[in-house]
């Protein structure tokens, strides 16, 4: 049977169409058409990247002593490689002297975390690097794996630096912290488990500031504590450590 000319041409077009479709969907590799195979390959490459920080737990098998000391002390949350740098190469080959992790004993190293900085959170132990046992290495008094002050910190500013410094320039500068807070002895060694008290009643301020008060130092700052400042606690308006307000 002889096909009409039109059908032949149609056949060619359909044939071409099929070739294109087959090529696109069956012959061409997916990597030519879609990004997905490239992405899968990338994931594989990413997972194969080398590790530099071995992780705190790997140190334990060879440095049990330091590990245990640290686990029980104030530095328990700090990874070993925070201070000793990336040590995967050292773990892989402990005899490679070139890969032995450094020990930072310079003062600046500890001060990077413990130097006083106003933005650090309340309660974080900070010292004034210019004043705190100047000229001596920190590690000569504090064991880096189990740092302990050999005596309880003398002053509250060690962990409440911003509050202490703020109060020191305020009109309350002459008031010791203990005028308003009762501090359990253990607060300076185990602060979170033994919190000091905080003022609870208006009487805590009124005893100096009420018009009936006789405290001579506060003579220039007297209010009628029964009516002044509605029923809010005094410290809901006045910041007790800087009562004159931010300038």
């Amino acid at each position: 049977m002889k096909l009409p000319e039109q059908m032949k041409r149609l056949g060619v077009i359909v044939g071409l169409f099929l070739v294109v479709v087959i090529t696109r969907f069956f012959l061409l590799p997916e990597s030519w058409i879609s990004a997905r195979p490239h992405q899968a390959a990338k994931v594989v490459r990413e997972m194969a990247k080398p590790v530099h920080y071995a992780g705190m737990m790997t140190c334990r098998q060879c440095h049990q002593e330091e590990f245990d000391a640290k686990l029980a002390g104030y530095h328990r949350t700090i990874g070993c490689e925070n201070c000793h740098g990336p040590a995967a190469a050292h773990v892989a080959n402990k005899d490679d002297k070139a890969a032995t992790p450094p020990k930072h004993r310079e003062r600046e190293f500890c001060l990077g975390c413990h130097g006083y900085l106003s933005s650090r959170p309340n309660g974080f132990p900070q010292v004034d690097g210019q004043a705190h046992n100047k000229g001596k290495r920190c590690v000569s008094c504090h064991d880096p794996h189990d740092p302990k002050p050999d005596e309880a910190p003398k002053d509250c500013g060690g962990c409440h630096g911003l509050i202490a410094r703020t109060k020191a320039v305020s009109t309350h500068s002459q008031l010791p912290c203990t005028d308003c807070h009762q501090v359990p002895e253990l607060h300076t060694t185990d602060p979170r488990s033994h919190l000091p008290t905080k003022p609870e009643t208006r009487e805590a301020c009124a005893r100096c500031h009420d018009t009936a008060s006789t405290d001579p130092a506060a003579a220039k700052a007297r209010v009628d504590s029964a009516s002044h400042g509605r029923t809010y606690a005094c410290w809901e308006c006045h910041y007790a450590h800087l009562p004159e307000g931010p300038k």
Binding site: L27, H38, V43, G79, G115, L117, S118, P121
Partner: protein
């Protein structure tokens, strides 16, 4: 060669080349994936990071560890993670500085600054790629080089990235940069090579105060899931509906 011969040749050449390439590609891919991905099923995980702003002491260790672990260029303006310092004044003025761009000496020098009584709040905020559940950077990539893995991490394929910087523009968090050595987009990967083998991201490994918490939101018992339960959580720029997986506790409203 006449036209007919050329067309015939072409009809056979292209598909044949394709078949060869396909065989080649799948063989290589299989060999690689078999060795590196053994035993890891990404569909079982959905990673996120918690950041407790109240615990950050601004020591910058996470930034340094990230650079070492991931070969991030040394120059102090390429970061996959960085720390910002906020100082909010009584008159509402907000001063933000990136402490990670400073030298170690400059950071130590910050400690001797005199007290400024007009500052009413001040704190550090660690920043990183938010690994959004709906990442705008992925949507704008013209070549599919940046994508989200099944476990929720946004990666950049440096082999197909053309360095057009669209993703850098599209990221609302400024978390991307153009790597000067590869000339391609670069960003935090949650240390994908570490977390897929059970290690913590480098920044979390070294964080001294547990301000950073890495976790798996699909896990039954995970620190990050409890973190979400115990804290009021904020995310950056929630109005953009990017659904970030960097979850901040104690986040100040001034943090952008």
């Amino acid at each position: 060669m006449n036209k007919r011969e050329f067309l015939k040749g072409a009809i056979f050449f292209f598909p044949a080349a394709g078949v060869l390439e396909a065989l080649n590609c799948s063989a290589a891919g299989n060999a690689l994936s078999a060795s590196a991905t053994a035993g890891y099923d990404p569909t079982n995980h959905w990673y996120g990071m918690g950041v407790d702003v109240d615990r950050c002491i601004g020591c910058n260790r996470c930034v340094e560890a990230c650079k070492i672990e991931n070969n991030v260029p040394e120059e102090p303006f390429f970061f996959r993670t960085w720390i910002e310092r906020y100082q909010i004044h009584a008159d509402g003025e907000v001063k933000v500085e990136c402490i990670s761009t400073k030298t170690p000496e400059e950071r130590l020098a910050m400690q001797n600054e005199p007290l400024d009584p007009s500052v009413v709040r001040t704190f550090f905020v660690p920043k990183l790629c938010n690994q959004c559940a709906h990442p705008p950077c992925v949507q704008v990539c013209p070549v599919g080089a940046t994508f989200q893995t099944k476990d929720g991490v946004v990666l950049v394929n440096e082999k197909t990235c053309i360095g057009c910087r669209y993703c850098i523009q599209a990221c609302p968090y400024g978390a991307r940069f153009l790597n000067p050595t590869t000339r391609t987009a670069d960003k935090c990967t949650f240390c994908y090579h570490r977390v897929t083998q059970g290690l913590l991201p480098a920044c979390v490994e070294v964080c001294p105060t547990e301000a950073r918490i890495f976790g798996d939101l699909k896990s039954k018992a995970d620190r990050l899931v409890s973190f979400q339960r115990d804290n009021k959580i904020g995310v950056l720029k929630p109005d953009l509906n990017t659904e970030p997986k960097a979850l901040y506790a104690n986040l100040d409203g001034e943090v952008r």
